[in-house]
Subunit: 146 residues, 2 copies
Amino acid sequence: MIFNDTYFMKMAFREAEIALEKDEIPVGAVVVLNNMVIGRGHNLTQTLQDVTAHAEMQAITAATNHIGAKYLNDCTLYVTLEPCVMCAGAIGWAQLGKLVYGATDPKKGFSLIKHNILHPKTLVTGGIMEEECSQILTEFFNKKRK
Amino acid sequence: MIFNDTYFMKMAFREAEIALEKDEIPVGAVVVLNNMVIGRGHNLTQTLQDVTAHAEMQAITAATNHIGAKYLNDCTLYVTLEPCVMCAGAIGWAQLGKLVYGATDPKKGFSLIKHNILHPKTLVTGGIMEEECSQILTEFFNKKRK
């Protein structure tokens, strides 16, 4: 088994598919420590009627619950869509070691903000499985508009 | 009874005091609709070992649970400390009608960011009960440093 970014992004993508099955905007996330998933989440804003229920927030909360500590310096967060400012703020507070995202979000992505919201030591990689991560969202919104 | 910003900030301050009793960084928040508190929260990041457990996040989640809808356009969020970027992002998503905060946060406050994170229609007032809201934090940190 090769544990690379694509391997774990596929797990995040599976979470996005679960969101889609619930008619939620399909975004998924996992938190990985030592090649093990210790937290997962998918967007549940409609189900919970809660704007804070983004995939990343749930995955971070699950991961910190799992390890019993609030910092995730040795962990990587994989998320199918570039985090928004709220989630980037949470990623900053949790001091994630690495952030890997799939599709970019030109409207709400945190990279629109000049100020560095993340922890200064957090490594960032974008564009992993970008096409699939973007396509599942495009198809969702196209279907909604019909 | 006069329902003004100070009246509701006192309620948020009471939440901060509850946080203090739990040895949490003393920040409190309430969400108000038609002069009624429909959500409240205080910082629980230590208790829950969860960086997302800020007072505002809990108050927003409680308020949206209460009304069964995820937007809070007609509501005001009172919080004893200027929200961080994560919480400002959540306030933006929830489209709060008004944000009122007590003490400013020169290190982590959202106003450090040039980009407007809040919803364009959200009104903002700062400095309500600023002295008390600031003092409870200063005393907490001074005690921790001893």
